[in-house]
Symmetry: C2
Subunit: 382 residues, 2 copies
Amino acid sequence: MDGTTNKQSVGAVTPRSARFDEPLRLKSGVTLGGYELACETYGTLNADKSNAVLVCHALNASHHVAGYYADDPKNVGWWDNMIGPGKPLDTNRFYVIGVNNLGGCFGSTGPHSINPATGRPWGADFPVVTVEDWVTTQARLADQLGIQRFAAVMGGSLGAMQALAWTIQYPERIGHALVIACAPNLSAQNIAFNEVARQAIITDPDFHGGHYYEHNTRPTRGLRVARMVGHITYLSDDEMASKFGRQLRHGRLNYTFDAEFEIESYLRHQGNKFSDYFDANTYLRITKVLDYFDPAAEHGGNLSLALEPATASFLVVSFTTDWRFSPERSREIVKALLDNRRDVTYAEIDAPHGHDAFLLDDARYHRLVAAYFDRISKDLGA
Amino acid sequence: MDGTTNKQSVGAVTPRSARFDEPLRLKSGVTLGGYELACETYGTLNADKSNAVLVCHALNASHHVAGYYADDPKNVGWWDNMIGPGKPLDTNRFYVIGVNNLGGCFGSTGPHSINPATGRPWGADFPVVTVEDWVTTQARLADQLGIQRFAAVMGGSLGAMQALAWTIQYPERIGHALVIACAPNLSAQNIAFNEVARQAIITDPDFHGGHYYEHNTRPTRGLRVARMVGHITYLSDDEMASKFGRQLRHGRLNYTFDAEFEIESYLRHQGNKFSDYFDANTYLRITKVLDYFDPAAEHGGNLSLALEPATASFLVVSFTTDWRFSPERSREIVKALLDNRRDVTYAEIDAPHGHDAFLLDDARYHRLVAAYFDRISKDLGA
């Protein structure tokens, strides 16, 4: 492939909605009567339905993984650099599925949806979900699509936690797991940052205990602060230093509380942008999904025991400057897999971008993923 | 001293207020007509007034550095483990001065004070101050006390920045600088965390553009979030892991937005406590003081040039797990001092506690500071 790659977009794509009427008992104990999941697919499912790859999204993304919308061509999928004809996850060979997770705010059933019991938006009453719940809903989506087994489940960050959970919950239904920029659970510091974000939202007077839809308002101030603090953890210190450093907006200090340094202006912009399109109740729940994920917990903290059921092959990737989920955390996963004599490839990519590196078009990283999918392709006899 | 130290408290102390009527032109260009500084002193000034040590405070501390108040014995000074008879900074030998910096909220003139021009609290109209302004006011306090030259100026974090600025602004008035857990300026990431804190406060509806005193309210919600995010940066990841880990408050997950993990409960407690006693306008200004500090800026970013005027001897101390101001940042200071062939002792203390280590009673760290003050004592012929 080297030197002759011809990367293309999957082109204009159309999301669709999948309806599920069978009640879903969540890990919290709450049962959800029915729900919808927004999803997109790219490429063609082969005759024996063996070439399907599920791509799981992280905190703020969606089912719109690749391509663009005909009526909104600037709205490009969040992992478009990874997925498409000739790209590392090549849609000429694989059938790729993106799904907006339950509780999301991009078309799937979530806090903004109408609660059938009240005829009003769920708001604060929408249940807290977990990675395991998401995996269950994704398996049901696979059932609807007639896919018995995924060639691979893939994700970065929280998306990677879903891939990991797949290998435990449905070992027979997943051939390969691509676990990128992941951690086997959140550290106290990770939880602490999530809690700051949640408190910013919950204490915003416009939050109204989570029932803000009915007040025709949104906790925009809280959501802005939440995103700002989150954003800091996605970038490396070095990346911030080289991108912004102590660069001033107006060439000199003005001794006011307006944005004086470029980094302030950048963070405010990120906060504003995010609070315009993301739903606060979804954000709250997704941070809880992260906090709760801990497959080892039910095994006395022993991750090796937790991963015993897994039969998939694994690609585990970390990034040197990721301080949110550092390479050390990925190595915990690798060690647990090796304890179980599982087939695992591990790569630590030397990249300056911090946690967000998993979303970026880094040549070594993308070559690695491409090579791994080549191998999957060969396994399938494609 | 080893093995026979007899550490004591300085005992009951009484703060006092120093009044300054000479106008002060601030770095921002604003002139302040007059002001008061709250201060405390411990020990006895010797006959030639050569044994005075100024202790500068960091973000949320005050002039109450050591001892306790007779009517409030639990209110112990913030660096009481460091300062007192037989302690590293030994008040049997040194005359120690603590001062609440201008703009503070513990008795010195600040945003909560009455603006003589309006008869109402300054609020948002209180000027933005800088480390250099603080050093100027501290020099005036020394003048009032008849102290021509400090045996040492000492501080941790933002306090260390003041010690460093002293060596540049008043090289002839400082014998030794103890620069602990410092950085020569804030990184983009440091500024980013400060900006999150500021936005949390400023966007709190109870902030009222900084004039909340007149509305009989306080931006408590914003201040809580600001403190929570700050607090995360004071502790090391490891320290949080060993202190809290993923420990649950109630032994099991409850799938609610109440504090489920101990770290959440701890952070909320820290936020609540802080927002009860600290003034938001002061907090805003002190984060700006941090952002602005950058002695190299006026020398084209060359810290060695900036430190050229310094003639003091230096003790520079950093802590291995401090990720707010990492040892690397202290080494920048050491390098700049060595470029100028200054007398500098540097120690990197292996401590698990992160940035807050400078406040803790770590045996190696305290022995080091004690030994350094022994040397100062000998220099003084005391």
